[in-house]
Symmetry: C2
């Protein structure tokens, strides 16, 4: 049973991702209308933009919900975040006097199209699950040199490409790229043959900074979290990434789930990062638990086939928290802005079935998975649909993220000049 | 003698960066007014925003000059770019009937504050001068392994941080970072001790793309160029950059010159990239000359001391052009947007005095420069002012960029939690 019951009946199910304790923020459109801010509740969406227009949801410094993104709410700051969550909780609670008026503003999720919930300002991706780093390092450099020397001291990150971030449901076209096998003399330009997913969480920066911030301050700057699939062209990456890091291998698409689950909703599920194998520098020390206990899974659905879960893990497997990553991001004096997105890095557990990428699950293609229909899978095939799911499990309720899906389409034919 | 003479007398000097053939675009403020779009002409700025308001500069789809940035003009597309340049050329030419009205809209550059001329959407930095790559590679890996195996096939790039891009004249505070010397067991958190400049050109993307574009299309997407100094914390970079590339080492600041010199103004100075040492893949072949003959120099002014030129080189020293870089950037399907900024990578010539970074000029600190006052310089000291200058030399006129300067301020004191 959820903490609190809602007059929206479907929100009271123990199985919904969106009980009254969640109240995640998205942007939706329906019946040809322009995209607008909404709040998921059970299997419905509350049209929060219209609620604001009608005076049912008045925010300090508002209106804040009329732009088709949640950036203005984020920019308004933590007092507004709290006021909004409190007000939404009251409006949607069992017995709310506004229930009758608000019932007209509910749109079934099944009838809505979901859009990016915020404008992504800049996108940074990290490499902060130790199991993932060990797996990848072992494949490429052997078990003794698996972990780079800096890994236990730095939450390693690199800048990604904000223009490539798309919302769940967006098709992903297999990229072309420069490929060179270990026995090839020269590279060729061809469609990626080792296209992969990466299971990650995304942290959304809701407040700006200039100058360095502490881990505690960084934590408070985070507005919320999404699921994130950082699609990766492994063969492109292998040839391009030395010495300056991944570039086009990561620029095809990064898919995020459509609902921003707020930090406030996740508070009951805080958990600590693991014991340190090497002491961290003082600036990275955490004043409290900064991870969250969020069960995660990856499923694969071949064209016309059945959905199969291929990995299960948990966000608590991270070695570094998003707050530590954000703090480290500011050490150089780098300014952070509202709408910056930080990918956690691929999240892998300790067991084979808890690995967050096909690169790891198939051990570089040497141990292909076998799908229920008997076909092998080392990397993604055209027509495959990937789905990430995640939820924090409360006592009789869950704080879920909704699905983060994407279907792989065949590479396009390129004009003659390209090859 | 310039091609064309202007009624703004200072624009007719052979020494000005801003003759009538240049007409670069900036954003300025003066006398407490809000930043607005302006055009440099001689030692003056034409207040283009007010000219538009007064109906002297009417653009298709306008008004386009009222937002304090040139992004709207860029987004309007090549026909508008051409119409604007033609109109400005006519308005500012000797004998223009509008001269008297426009004379009231001239502001001396000496009295104006310059701002970022455009909103930087995303920032990508490349590594595309072969001399630079050879120098750095030789220092780190020896002459035989200097050039990474992919270098002659890929215009190597990595994503930088748009929030760190600042306009010329902005002070740059020496960053803190994780540092670990080769003989240290563990890293420490301390101010950067090897702070450096990088002499680069920046290409500004003026038209969006989705899907891959050809080199010819990429060239036409470029609106203009600026000088660019990619400040670099070499000691931070050395410890952090494996395996995913530079991150905080490059996030303190990237300074650009304040005037966007249009591609149109640079057309007479096109020159070809060098002969290929390894054939390029067809998609990277150039349909014509894609570099520009732009003489570049770096000067250093110690606190209270004299300005000394420490390097002279030319943009024609690049192995890859900005058009090739932009084309490669789209191979993965990565969308480009109006306001994206591409750094060329450090530009170094073949001789010792033509190297575009102190890392190279002082050979990693082993061969410090000696300044005129007798002090040595391996890396930047607090109080040093760095200035980049650049110009294409025509017959009796020059297409200049103005100065790109920044002064290094001491690292800040960090609170106790940081160390």
């Amino acid at each position: 049973m959820p903490f609190k019951t809602s007059w929206v009946a479907s929100a009271n199910s123990a199985r919904t991702d969106f009980p009254l304790d969640n109240l995640p923020y998205g942007v939706f459109s329906s019946a040809g209308a322009a995209p607008r801010c909404g709040v998921a509740i059970g299997d419905m969406i509350l049209d929060a933009a219209t609620a604001e227009t009608l005076g049912l949801l008045t925010l300090p410094g508002g209106p804040l919900l009329q732009a088709g993104s949640w950036n203005a709410v984020m920019a308004a700051g933590p007092a507004t975040w709290e006021a909004l969550r409190d007000r939404l909780g009251a409006l949607l609670a069992e017995g709310a006097p506004e229930a009758e008026a608000l019932a007209d503003l509910l749109v079934p999720q099944a009838e809505a199209t979901l859009h990016l919930p915020f404008t992504v300002t800049e996108y940074t991706d990290f490499y902060a699950s130790k199991n993932h780093a060990m797996n990848v390092g072992t494949m490429f450099r052997g078990p003794e040199n698996a972990l780079p020397p800096n890994w236990l001291s730095i939450p390693i990150g690199y800048n990604g490409r904000a223009s490539s971030v798309v919302v769940s449901g967006t098709d992903v076209v297999r990229p072309w790229g420069q490929l060179k096998g270990p026995n090839d003399d020269l590279p060729r330009f061809a469609p990626c043959a080792r296209f992969d997913l990466e299971l990650e969480m995304g942290a959304i920066v809701g407040q700006p900074s200039s100058g360095m911030v502490s881990v505690a301050e960084a934590d408070q700057m985070i507005f919320g979290y999404v699921l994130l699939n950082d699609w990766s062209a492994r063969d492109v990456q292998a040839w391009e990434y030395q010495p300056l890091g991944p570039f086009q291998a990561k620029a095809t698409a990064t898919t995020i789930s459509p609902w921003i689950v707020t930090r406030a909703a996740l508070e009951p599920f805080r958990t600590a990062t693991p014991e340190r194998e090497r002491p961290l520098l003082p600036y990275l020390s955490e004043p409290g638990p900064m991870l969250y206990d969020i069960a995660l899974e990856v499923s694969l659905t071949p064209e016309g086939g059945a959905e199969t879960v291929i990995a299960r893990t948990n966000y608590d497997q991270m070695y570094y928290s998003a707050a530590q990553q954000l703090c480290h991001h500011t050490t150089s004096g780098c300014s952070m802005r509202v709408g910056d997105l930080l990918g956690s890095g691929t999240i892998s557990g300790t067991t084979k079935d808890s690995r967050g990428s096909l690169l790891e699950l198939s051990w570089g293609g040497k141990e292909p998975l076998t799908l229920p229909d008997g076909t092998p899978r080392s990397f993604l095939e055209d027509g495959d649909t990937l789905t990430l799911r995640g939820a924090a499990q409360g006592d009789g309720y869950r704080i879920g993220f909704g699905a983060c899906t994407g279907k792989v389409l065949p590479a396009i034919d390129l004009p003659d000049w390209a090859h």
